[in-house]
Amino acid sequence: MFNGASNLAEGVDKTFVFIFIIAFIFIIGLTVFMIYTLVKYSRKKNQKAKQFRGSVKLEILWTVIPLVLVILMFYYGWVGFAPMRQVPDDAMRITAIGRMWEWEFDYGDGKLSSELVLPVNKPVRLDLVSEDVNHSLFIPAFRVKEDVVPGYDNYLWFTPYYIGDYEILCTEYCGLLHSSMVSKTKVVEEDKFEEWLANLEARGDIPDPPGLVLLKETGCLACHSDDGSRLVGPSFKGIYGMERIVVSDGEERTITIDDDYLRSSIIEPDRDLVKGYNKGLMQSYRKELNDDEIDQIIEYLSTFTPEGN
């Protein structure tokens, strides 16, 4: 029964079972008792009610019994939880980065992966970093979940027991695509893991152009694709020099996309709305990006000509 996919599962599942058994006994027991009372003392059979007002003995009894039971529940919950904060020293360390709306796992040395690949039976510690708003990293099969809060260092750890694929979900509401902020854990044999890690291209070696780095870090790519597919906003594919129908102050006009337009789209997205998109979806990045950074983004986007890429 308690063969969960990680070392932490047993403690959690035992607590579930313990609380549910007590809950079941009380809910069923009290409901049956109520129904029995309703039938037995129904007015049809029982014209006269007994007039009594209470009993100190009973009050004490049903204060003490629940008190004992809840303290037991608390105790089980605590015991199941305690190991979650005691990371073994030999745990492998990976940084999990959450940003609107994707996960990224940093294995050190510039090796980044969008999936979490882990060796089986090895303790692993994830250091949780947020680049924008609150997220929460949840792997249901392993019974782990911790919030990823900007400005805070949080962590979680576990030892995966079985080879297989497991879902990673984001459980702290983080805006539009919160429900798509999913990824996978792949638990594999140790040698396969080494192989995979060795083959993982270190992104640090061939640096992305600074504009692309910014696009990724700021989360633009969550809404804008580079392959022509429509996500929340229009795709960046072939955007530079393209003609656009935009709505400004309720009036439609056609413009050609140039540096100035790109800049104003980033600083004041709602001023010239691309036709077919709603106001308010894209927020202003005036606070997040300084002028230099915006220039770098524009420089990068200017390589997206209709002929090229």
Binding site: K14, T15, I19, A23, F26, I27, L30, F33, M34, L38, Y41, N46, Q47, K48, A49, K50, Q51, F52, R53, L58, E59, W62, P66, V70, I71, M73, F74, G77, W78, G80, M84, V133, N134, S136, P140, V144, K145, E146, D147, V149, P150, G151, Y152, D153, N154, E167, L169, C170, E172, Y173, G175, L176, H178, S179, V182, V232, N278, K279, G280, L281
Partner: protein
């Protein structure tokens, strides 16, 4: 004591006629009903939004709305349900209507302030609704307004924050009014421990309203300052602290859940003795446990933040106190059930709803304990398990208590009877629909279905489909119930002053009550809930 010399409050014509007569009335009974109509109106809007969410979730991916709309819908659903409906809820409706009558007063202590609270309430509610339509689009932060997202979202969060602030103000004023009323206006002879238990629960509630609401007020103002002035209390980029917001938010919002449930407990506490014709069991225990809940409820807010990375020992502490606060609820449940034991029980619709309240509240409560245990919270936090927990406890608890209360006091309020047959039918549909709707959410929650998810993984579909079907059944039940109440409000049989043979003061005056409630202020001699003094003396020997 029954007098017929006065016009009843429904027919009374003062300076203004018709609608204006209501809108300018400082009569606590009319104000109570005005709250009820407003709440019903907003309930139907918010409930239909809930239904839309269920339709959206009938299949993975987009079905009837896009992700942005979905996020807006659950936000406004939550805001309306929490701030506009259940927080004022029972206290404003039944509290206003029956608190003065049950303690033998002619009105609340500050009738004008009472009317003002209603207007502030309406203003706040309208702002909440308007936030959907003006500016950058419907707010999409969830009812919890967590920063940094709420400080950054391009949508119209400002208006929603202001709405919650204004509603909080109205809530404070109502609480203040009730505290003073209970202190000053109890009828002669009604000592604290001769007061019925519904006023007791309102008293505990009112203290929470007065002491906790300002904290959320200032917190919301800080978020507003954050958005407009870039002040940065909560923005890590400026040195602020996003978790500080969560602490401040829950310092209010956890006690607020007891603002919702305590009056509901008070209502059912009135119903059990009446339909068993028997004094309430453990009067003192019930009264004191209300205060205990209110008191300890202040120190458990951290159980909403177990996974945020707060320290090991704060988790320990908050979890422990969360369990302690469950005990007074348990005491109440046992006392209610014992009140029926040995009685002469008449299973009329109000009692049926009150019993379902106990059943659903137990499920909601025990799943609350599951959430409160540290190990299981890790698995269930921010999943549909939480969603199911609070729908069971809010809708199943507070909602069913409201239904129980309205069926109980309907003849008093309108002077007419509804159809019992329809009431039973509505209850049956409602009960089945309710459990179908929310129970599956427990199951998929444990399996890992997060909340606030527009889209979901295919393995959760069965649960979602059952849940959506349940939603439609529930709606059918509600329609029958509303029809029954609305139609028979005017067309039902004339009800007598005391159709259920209740013993609290509201049953000693005509139905509907006269304008001034009592021709002469009653003098209280007996203990509360005295059904048969002789019998009681004989059986207990005192």
């Amino acid at each position: 004591m029954v007098n017929t010399s006065q016009e009843n409050y429904l027919e009374y014509r003062g300076r203004f006629k018709g609608l204006m007569g209501w809108l300018t009335s400082t009569d606590h009974k009319r104000i109570g009903l005005m709250y009820m109509y407003a709440i019903m109106f907003f309930f139907i809007i918010a409930a239909l939004l809930g239904l839309l969410m269920r339709i959206e979730k009938i299949a993975p991916g987009q079905t009837i709305m896009d992700a942005q709309t979905y996020n807006g819908v659950f936000t406004i659903h939550g805001i309306i349900m929490i701030f506009i409906i259940v927080i004022p809820g029972l206290a404003a409706v039944f509290g206003n209507f029956f608190l003065p009558i049950m303690i033998g007063a002619k009105d609340v202590a500050f009738p004008k302030l009472n009317l003002l609270s209603w207007y502030i309430y309406i203003a706040g509610a309208i702002m909440g609704i308007l936030s959907q339509f003006i500016g950058g689009g419907a707010p999409d932060t969830g009812w919890t307004f967590y920063v940094p997202y709420s400080a950054e979202s391009g949508t119209n969060v400002m208006f929603a924050l202001l709405a919650a602030f204004v509603l909080g103000f109205s809530s404070i004023l109502t609480g203040l009014n009730f505290i003073v009323t209970i202190h000053r206006l109890r009828a002669p002879g009604m000592t604290w421990f001769k007061m019925p238990l519904f006023p007791w629960s309102l008293y505990a509630t009112a203290w929470i309203q007065v002491l906790a609401t300002p904290i959320i007020g200032i917190t919301l103002l800080m978020v507003i300052a954050e958005r407009t002035l870039n002040i940065g209390f909560f923005d890590p980029a400026l040195g602020g602290d996003p978790l500080l917001f969560q602490h401040l938010f829950w310092i209010y919002s956890h006690p607020a859940v007891y603002v919702m449930i305590l009056p509901a407990m008070g209502v059912v506490t009135e119903i059990f003795p009446t339909f068993s014709q028997k004094p309430v069991f453990g009067y003192g225990a019930i009264a004191i446990s209300s205060l205990a809940i209110a008191l300890v409820g202040y120190f458990v807010w951290g159980h909403h933040m177990f996974t945020t990375g707060i320290s090991y020992w704060s988790r320990w502490f908050f979890s422990f106190l969360t369990f302690i606060v469950a005990v007074p609820s348990a005491i109440k449940v046992f006392n209610w059930i014992s009140t029926m034991y040995g009685g002469s029980i008449d299973l009329k619709p109000p009692l049926l709803y009150a019993i379902s309240f106990i059943f659903l509240f137990m499920i909601g409560g025990f799943t609350g304990l599951t959430l409160g245990a540290l190990a299981t919270n890790v698995q269930t936090h921010d999943t549909t398990f939480v969603v199911a927990h609070f729908h069971y406890i809010i809708f199943g608890g507070m909602g069913f208590a409201f239904f129980a209360g309205i069926h109980y006091w309907f003849p008093k309020i309108y002077g007419r009877m509804y159809s019992n047959r329809l009431a039973y039918i509505a209850w049956g549909i409602l009960f089945v629909g309710f459990n179908l709707l929310y129970f599956p959410l427990f199951v998929i929650g444990i399996q890992g279905m997060p909340r606030r998810y527009f889209d979901y993984l295919p393995q959760f579909q069965t649960g979602h489909v059952i849940s959506s079907i349940g939603a439609f059944i529930l709606v059918a039940g509600l329609v029958v119930m509303f029809y029954n109440l609305i139609y028979y409000r005017r067309k039902g049989e004339i009800a007598s002053a005391n159709p259920w043979k209740g013993v609290t003061l509201e049953w000693q005056i005509p139905s509907p009550p006269p304008l001034e409630n009592f021709e002469e202020i009653p003098v209280i001699k007996d203990k509360p809930y005295t059904f048969d003094n002789k019998e009681e003396k004989a059986s207990t020997g005192n």
